[in-house]
Structure formats: C-alpha cells, structure tokens
C-alpha cells in the first residue's frame, strides 16, 4: 500500500502523537514533579517552568525528611535495596533451578514433565491470594513471615514458571543433533549440557532472566501479605510512604521515579525479548 495520500499520513502522525502523549505524559510529569518543591507543585495554573531542585532526592537518599511538621526518618532506600536484593536473588536461584528443568522438559518426553508444565501453566492464571493467604498462616507457623528466605521462596512462584516456559522453547528450537555428535565423541551428559546446550540457549536465558527480574520487582501482593516494613520492596513501601504525614509531594514523586527507573531501563535494554516473554512465547517475533 504505497499510494498513501499526504492527508492520511498527517492523520496517522497526529493519532500516533496523541497515543504517545497519553502513554508517556504521566511518566514525564512525575519526573518533573520529582525536581520541584511543594511551592511550585501547588502553583495554579501548573507550569513546566520552574527552578529544578535535587532536595527531594537528597532527602530520600539520606533518609531524613525535613518539613514544617518536624524531622521525619524514612527508610525508602531500604525498600529500594529490598526490591533489588529480593528480585536479583530470586532470579538467580530460579535460573540455577529452572534451566536444567527446562532442558529436561525439552529433551526428554516424560509424563511427569508434562504434568508439571501443565500445572504451572494453569496456576499462572489462578488468583495469587488463593495461594498466598493459606501460605501466610503456614509461614507464621514455620517462622518464615517477614524473612528474606521466605520471600525469595514465594518469589519462585513468579520467576521459575516464567524461566521454565521461555527457556524450554529455546531448547526445543535447538537441534539435538549437535548434542548427539558431541556425546558420541565421548563427552558426559553434564558437559554436553554445559558446553553445548546452555551457550546456544543464551539469548533465551537472558530474556527469561530479565523478564523474571522485572516481574519480581513489580510484584506487589506477595510482599504486602508476607513482609513487614523492614523487608518490604518499593512497591509496598511506596504505598505506606504516600499515607505518611508530613511528606512533600515532590518526595513522593522522586520515590516513584527511583522505583520505576530500574525496570524501565531494563525494559528498554531488553525490548526485543519482551514480546515473546510477555506472551509466554505464544507469538514468535
């Protein structure tokens, strides 16, 4: 369809601009807010001209908020660290456990493998609270409530199925012939897996790991139920932060910016894998 008229191109351009404005404006506006004091935020009419200040960020980083109501200690950086620590260690463990399992699912046809794959897939769509609420009572009995170990354990429910499904698809796409040839020349199974299969599936592993990290980071309900303030990630911590008294709006905005920046940066970096990962590999891009 190369005979598109100029008028049509103009209309398309206008529509795409509207779409971009709707989807990007909120991020843009929150970033602007994060560099403002309450005074400029509360101006009417609002304006994008203001003298930028870093005071919101420095207050968050030092953990001391000075306001008219007095000084306030907040642990936002702790939340940020929790998010990072929980997501990174969950993904790492899920990769170590998930890649061999994905390989087994792809290479060996066995009943248990199909059953596991199907159970994980059908629970992908079960309400998370259905599992979390009973788990919260078990965790209390086991002493796992509000521990990193307990949280990393339940984060496997997000990370492991994702890694299994994506990496399995990649292993399936690799011809087993190369591995057979390597095996025949006298190498062990383990060496074949490590030297041949894993390097070939590397893009898939990277994609799955990045996506699992983003999903773990963005998760809200797991930590809402199983963690208290000192172990909470930013998604939960920010909510409590908003309702705390004496906090300036610019500081809330700065906290949101710091909380979403890592996943947005990762998403831009890994965008070509996102489509496939998001659809559990339903649509090969």
């Amino acid at each position: 369809m190369d005979h598109t008229s100029t008028l049509e191109q103009v209309i398309r351009g206008v529509l795409i601009t509207c779409v971009l404005v709707f989807f990007l404006f909120p991020i843009f506006w929150i970033v602007l807010m994060s560099f403002q004091t309450n005074e400029t935020i509360l101006r009417i009419p609002p304006s994008i001209v203001f003298e930028p200040t870093l005071s919101n960020y420095s207050a968050l980083i030092t953990g001391r908020l000075e306001s008219a109501a007095g000084n306030l200690d907040i642990a936002f950086m702790k939340n940020l660290w929790n998010s990072f620590f929980l997501s990174a260690s969950s993904v790492l463990i899920a990769l170590v456990l998930g890649i061999p399992a994905a390989y087994a699912f792809a290479r060996f046809r066995f009943r248990l493998g199909e059953d596991i794959a199907f159970t994980l897939l059908s629970f992908r769509f079960a309400p998370p609270l259905l599992v979390l609420l009973p788990l919260s009572l078990y965790f209390k009995q086991l002493g796992l409530t509000n521990t990193y170990i307990g949280l990393i354990w339940v984060y496997q429910l997000i990370c492991l199925p994702l890694i299994l499904w994506i990496v399995r698809g990649y292993f399936e796409d690799i011809s087993p012939d190369i591995e057979h040839a390597y095996r025949i020349s006298g190498n062990s199974w383990l060496k074949t897996f490590w030297k041949i299969a894993v390097p070939l599936a590397k893009p898939g592993i990277a994609a799955a790991g990045l996506l699992a990290f983003i999903f773990a980071w963005n998760n809200f309900v797991f930590a809402l139920i199983l963690a208290s303030a000192d172990k909470q990630p930013v998604t939960v911590g920010a909510l409590a932060f908003v309702t705390a008294s004496g906090i300036q709006y610019g500081q809330i905005a700065a906290a949101i910016v710091l909380s979403i920046a890592p996943t947005l940066a990762l998403a831009l970096y890994a965008q070509r894998y996102l489509v496939e990962g998001l659809s559990l590999g339903a649509v090969k891009g």
Binding site: M1, V19, I27, I44, A101, S122, L160, L274, S279
Partner: protein
C-alpha cells in the same frame, strides 16, 4: 541413572508445584470451615455453608458484578485501543519501531506504582489532570474518591498500564501475516475497508482471542491497581474479588469466607484459562510449525 535424570532435573519445578498445590488444597479446606482468626473456638467443619451463604449475600453479588464489569470494561477498551495503535504502527519504519518500544514503558511500570502516579496526577489540590478537567468546566471532579467516577478512574489506570500489552501482541501478529492476500487485494483495487474486515481481521482473530483471554484472566483478578488506588472504595464501589477476600481475611479475619470467595474466583478463571490454554497452544504450534 540415565532414566532418573529427567526426574532429577525437574525436581525444583516439582517442588514449586507442590508449594502451590498444598496452599491451594488448604484453601479449599478452609472454604469448608467456619474459621475466624479472632474466634478460634468457633472453628468447625460446615460443608458448603460459606458458599450457600453467598447466594443470599448482596455484598457477594456486588463483588461478582463489579469484577465482571471491571474485566469487561478494561479489556474491551484495551482491545479497541490496542488494535487501533497496532494498525497505526503496522509498517516497520524506524519511527514506528521506536514508538512501539516507548509504549512498552507503562507496561513495565509496577501497577501498584502506576496507581500512585495517577493518584498524584488526580489529586484535587495540585493534580495536573484535575487542572485539565477544571479547564473543561468540571470544577469538582473527584476522580477515584467519588463513587460515580471511581470505576472510570481505575479503568483509566488499567488502560494506561495494559493497553501496550495487547498492542504489542497484535502488532507482532499483524507483522507476521502472509503478504500475498494483501498484494492480491491491492492489485484488484479492493476497497480498504473490505480488506480490513474480510482479510486482516479474520487472519488476526487468533491473536485477538489470545490477547483478550490473557488480559481477561488477569483483569478479573485485578488487585494491585484497585487496592493502591482506593482499597475497594469508595464504600464498596470497587470491591473486586481479590480486594474483598484480602479485606475479609485481614480486616474481618474471616478465613473461611475469604477462602470461599477465592475458590469462586478460581473456578471462573479455571474455566476461562482452559479455553485460553487450548487457544494459546494452537497459536504456539502455528508459530513454531510455520517457521
């Protein structure tokens, strides 16, 4: 050893399955109990009384209604918008590709944090959106805190976060369609509306169904956005399934009722997900087989 290998390797996955199934069956069991954390002495097996009580419970039917309306509304709007945007960005030009990547950003924002962003923007004192609507003459627009506009506001946030999901799946679908039918239609001078309704749409249908079912399954159990925005309020205006069962559990400590609510929700998603998984496997087969 050789025979045991696949079982050994899938052990962690098996453990995760067990880790899911044990709480799941515990929840099924709880749903058959009279079980309040604050009244441990009353605990007892009551068969299906929790479920039977739902039938005459207005709050339960409100939850069912709100959840279905929420899911239908959000997915409907997201589908139309997502399809529209995918069609706009169909040509793989450099500009279109950059635009489609930028549109992924809302999707990668944690929904709970997205809700906070919109809360700041709809704040009655300084929210930029409150200012915009006041320019249009709505001076007392209360967004999520007014029962008559709460659903609209939360839908807006959901649409902002999840439209890119549908858009990106449909865009991948559109770009993978075979070229031949379109070239033939262009040669024959077939009108564009005819091409769209008789060629594009039918060929895209499997992708549309997959994307909508996927979203429908998530949307009917939306928690993050609704909880962060309004905690189910104002009143019980946005009391969707998972928010209701969360409050039932932690605020009213009624474990039995909370579990029964979740089982009802699970039954709905189970039916939907069986349809979805069949559809998805078909599409996956095609994507793999066709390549």
């Amino acid at each position: 050893m050789r025979r045991a290998l696949p079982y050994l390797l899938s052990l962690p996955a098996l453990l995760v399955c067990i880790g899911i199934l044990i709480p799941f069956f515990t929840a099924v069991y709880y749903s058959l109990l009279r079980f309040r954390l604050n009244l441990p002495a009353m605990k007892g097996f009551i068969w299906f009384d929790n479920y039977i009580n739902f039938l005459s419970d207005a709050a339960f039917w409100n939850t069912v209604k709100i959840s279905l309306v929420y899911a239908g509304l959000t997915v409907g709007v997201e589908l139309l918008l997502g399809l529209g945007i995918a069609l706009l960005l169909q040509k793989p030009t450099r500009f279109n590709n950059i635009a489609s990547i930028l549109l992924l950003l809302p999707l990668m924002t944690a929904p709970a944090l997205a809700a906070l962003m919109w809360k700041l923007m709809t704040n009655p004192n300084f929210g930029i959106l409150s200012y915009f609507v006041s320019l249009l003459g709505f001076h007392d627009f209360k967004w999520a805190s007014d029962p008559s506009t709460a659903l609209f506001t939360v839908t807006l946030v959901d649409v902002w976060v999840y439209t890119p999901f549908i858009m990106i799946l449909l865009l991948a679908g559109l770009r993978s369609l075979p070229k031949a039918p379109f070239e033939a239609a262009a040669l024959d001078g077939v009108p564009r509306s005819f091409v769209f309704f008789r060629i594009t749409l039918p060929m895209l249908l499997p992708y549309i169904i997959t994307a909508s079912l996927f979203r429908l399954l998530d949307s009917i159990q939306q928690f993050d956005i609704v909880y962060s925005m309004t905690q189910g309020g104002p009143g019980d205006r946005l009391m969707v399934f998972q928010v209701q069962s969360y409050l039932e559990f932690f605020q009213y400590t009624n474990v039995g009722r909370s579990a029964a609510l979740l089982i009802v929700l699970w039954a709905i998603t189970y039916l939907l997900s069986n349809i979805f998984i069949k559809q998805w496997l078909k599409l996956r087969e095609r994507a793999h087989g066709g390549a």
